[in-house]
Structures are given as structure tokens and as C-alpha cells.
Symmetry: C2
Subunit: 306 residues, 2 copies
Amino acid sequence: MSVIYQRVAFIGLGLIASSMAHAIRRSGLAVTTTGTARSADTRKVAREIGLVDQVFDTAAETVKGADLVVLCVPMGAMGTVAEEIAPHLEPGATLTDVGSVKQAVIDAVTPFLPQGVHFIPGHPLAGTEHSGPRAGFAELFDNRWCILTPPDGCDSQALARLSRFWRGMGANLDVMDAPHHDLVLAVTSHTPHLIAYTMVGVADDLRRVTDSEVIKYSAAGFRDFTRIAASDPTMWRDVFLTNKDATLEILGRFTEELFALQRAIRQGDGDLLHAYFTRTRAIRRGIIEAGQDTDAPDFGRAKSKG
Amino acid sequence: MSVIYQRVAFIGLGLIASSMAHAIRRSGLAVTTTGTARSADTRKVAREIGLVDQVFDTAAETVKGADLVVLCVPMGAMGTVAEEIAPHLEPGATLTDVGSVKQAVIDAVTPFLPQGVHFIPGHPLAGTEHSGPRAGFAELFDNRWCILTPPDGCDSQALARLSRFWRGMGANLDVMDAPHHDLVLAVTSHTPHLIAYTMVGVADDLRRVTDSEVIKYSAAGFRDFTRIAASDPTMWRDVFLTNKDATLEILGRFTEELFALQRAIRQGDGDLLHAYFTRTRAIRRGIIEAGQDTDAPDFGRAKSKG
């Protein structure tokens, strides 16, 4: 792998930024990396573990001389950060981000964008339920998708370079427009997360079943919900606030379908239930065939005996 | 491990029965195993792979001389099978089952129960999305819970023996009454499955997002839903038809909570969302501490590059 950027600057040093830093080093994609975080504690940890070559206290210092700047802050902070760094961005530099919603980032960042800076929003579809600068690992993006949503008239060389960079970190690349991205993610990510959060909340709240029972018997299905309901609360609050329309649209469809199944249960309509459950099996097979999951039967099984 | 039953008979040879057969052999828990299945094809496969010592064409032959009979058929078939085998059960034998709903099994089986046969309903909380006689493996129950719901006045020696048997197959044992079991499972398993089925159905049905997009981008959360939405349709149809009341109760609570979160999104109430998402994180930690899942960050990651 060869060097793609001279100097990559991270604003925000959580799971995604720290994984990118490791992946860049693994493949030698940049000469230097810099980073900053709003929290002094995060900056301290990043310095201790040598996450990037230089940790700065301000975003302005961090982006100085960088030919790639990556915004890795929660959706709600994108505009503020863009305003802060705008005067310090190098002409010809590429500015990207890793936010889960793309139209909202474009709306927040574009007003501050200086002439000559290439803004190419991005979204790596990878994560774990862990957060912070210690959570990152170089393999996070391997065989995962990264979606770029370049604006009309985007510089094609800048786009090709950023694409090479993501491929160098192990990701598969895709390009689409921001509104379509936001709808696709509302289906595959945002609504499932909201539903998982809700189900876990119901279980927690139900006085007739204790938390310890819920935990003990979680392997029967509930466990898969708790994994995604353990993701970073700030990030997810911002996702729902910024992808409001698409999420509410998919939630509306979900509620409709749920009511239909609920009525089938109430009326004892086994044929409807069986047909529905048979149809959903096919999608699962597609996901395994596409290499986005494993069908190993011991998936998620703890090694130790409790 | 020592022999606990002389002859264990399986009615139904799907994932659970075949895993039990492997686990029995692993630990030498029975002298002989027998089995039957309604489908000739399943019986043929079971004979080919030597799943049990003897495969019979009828349930009557299968249970003859058995001191443990395990009903491993869908919930909807429990009554019919009980009626069929009742005249052939040995006095002093234990009859158990592995159904996901317990009150309905008791209601279906008890009318046919001969004097002197110990009926102790059971439910191993373990599974994969695979079905059939080839799906079983000896480790399925390791460190998983098995819940027994003995009726009032159950013979304590028969209960102790069945408990030893399940522990011998690697499971942790718990005992509770059938209605409480059905409520706990409605929370930890049945409602989550229905919700997962619904979400996968919505994604499949949405014309503006293609199935291939759903599959490609599933790693962002949706994937965890498809795993549980790929379970056996017949089994799950019967679960919802037989645990109707508890499932509808939890679904009602779920819908209430979902509407509250939906309103928070619509109104932009970030504080409510953040507080809710923070609370649900704690349950996840409990599950990992209880050894019912792993927090490995590469959980579910396919090994090969697609």
C-alpha cells in the first residue's frame, strides 16, 4: 500500500477515528496523523497510547497543513466544528466526515466551506457497541461498506483519492446521493436501533419480570437486541434528531406491519404468520451469501462456563 | 458422567432433538436412544447419519421401553402426539418436552397422561436459525439455561433425575411455574422475534430501497434482526398462537414505548432520547457479565473478504 495523504487530521477521537488511525498505520496510508478531541481526558488517553502522531488542544492547530480532515464528532457538533476549522483549512484539502446521516452534515457544514476545499461526506458502515479512543482497532472496516455522498460538481480526482484511502483501510466503496443514503440507513440501521432500544427499555421497565431474569434468559432472542441498544447514546440521539423524516417514515411502515401481525396473533391466523416468517428467511440467506455475517451456529456464544 | 436414563426416546428430530442426541453421546447419559419424525425424509437422514441408535416409523414403537420420552415437535402437534403415545408409555417413565411455551403444552398433554408417568415440561433456551436433523451439535446447550416447569405434586426424584440429565448436557437448570415462564419468554424471546420478523418484512417490502441494498448495508444494525427472523416458521407460528396473551401484553407495552420515542423524535426532544439510550446500555453490560454473550468487537464478522 502506498501513501495517499501527507497529513490526515481527525476532529474527534472516538471508535471510528481511532480505528481509522490504526488502519492508516497498518497500511501506511499517510505520512503523519494528527488529532484533537473536545474532552481533555480523551486527548490525554490518545497521547498516552500514541493513537496519532500529534494530539493538539485545538481543532485549528489540528487541521493546519492537513490534506485530509476527517470530522469524527457527533452529528450535532458538525456545524460548530466546521465553523471553527474553516479559516484554517488548506486550499486543495479534502474535508470529509463519518456521520451516520448525510443530508444533515451537508446542511451544517456547507455554509462554512471555504473556496478550494473539497467537501466529500462519508459514512463507514462499521461499529461496535464500544466507544472512545481505546475502542478502535485496525480491522474495523475490513469487508465493510463505506458510502460517500459527493455533492454535484465534486472534484473527481479528490473523490478518487478518498475512495482509494477507504479501500486502503479495508472497506468496500459505494457512492450515492445523500437523501437516498439517509433512507437506506433509516431501514438498515436507524429504525432497527430505535426498535432495539425500545424493546430493551420495555424489558427493563417490566416489574413482573426481574432484570436478572431478562439477563439470564437473554440468549433466546433478546440478546441480539441488547447489542445494538448499547451503542453510544449521544451519537444515536443525534442520528434520530437529524434523520427525523426518513426514520419516522420507516417507523410508520413498521407500526403498520406490526399491527397486522398483532391482529393475526389475536385472531389465531396461523397461515398469515407462517407465510410472513417464511418470506423473511430469504433475506437472511442473502446476507450470509453477501459475506456480511457468518452462519456459524455458535455465533455469540461465551467461551467460559458461567 | 454416568448413565442417567436407560433409554431416551425422541419424538421429532429437529435442531433440539438432534443436539440432545449428540450431547447425550458426548457425556454417556443414556444407554440407548431412539427417535422418530413425522417426515419420512427426516427419518431417512437420521438413519443415514446415525443420529440415534434406532429410528422407528411410529411414535408408539419409539417410546416403547423408554424411561425418558422427549417431545420435540412444534407446539401445535403436542396434543396429537401425546394422545398417540399415551397407551405405549412405560409406568414410571418421565415425559418431557422442549416447547417454547409451557402452559399450552400442559393444557395439550395433561388430558392424555396415563397414571404413573411423570410429566415435567421443559424448555432449553438455546437455538440457532438452522433446523432439521443435520443442524444439531453437542455444544448447543453448554452454558445455556434450561427451564423446567413441574406441575404441583411432581415427583421430586423424577425432577432431580431430569435436572441431572440437563446439567449433563451442559445446561444450567432453573425451575419456575408455567405462567411465569411464558411471561418471561414473551419478554426475552417471543416479542423480540415478532419485532425482528416485522422489521425484516418492512425492509423487504420497501420498494424505494432494494433488497440488495438492504443486504449490503445490513452490518449497520439490521443484520442482528435477520438472524432471529430466520428461525423456523412453523415453530414460531405455534409460539405466537399458543402464547397469545403474554405476547400481546408485551407487544402493547412495546407499542406504547415506541410511540413515546417516536413523539420525542418528531418534537426534537434530545434529552428524552439520550436518557432512554443511556438506561438501556446497563442491561447489555449485565448480559456480558452473566456470560450469555461476548463483547468481542469482531462479533459476527465474516472471515473472508467479499
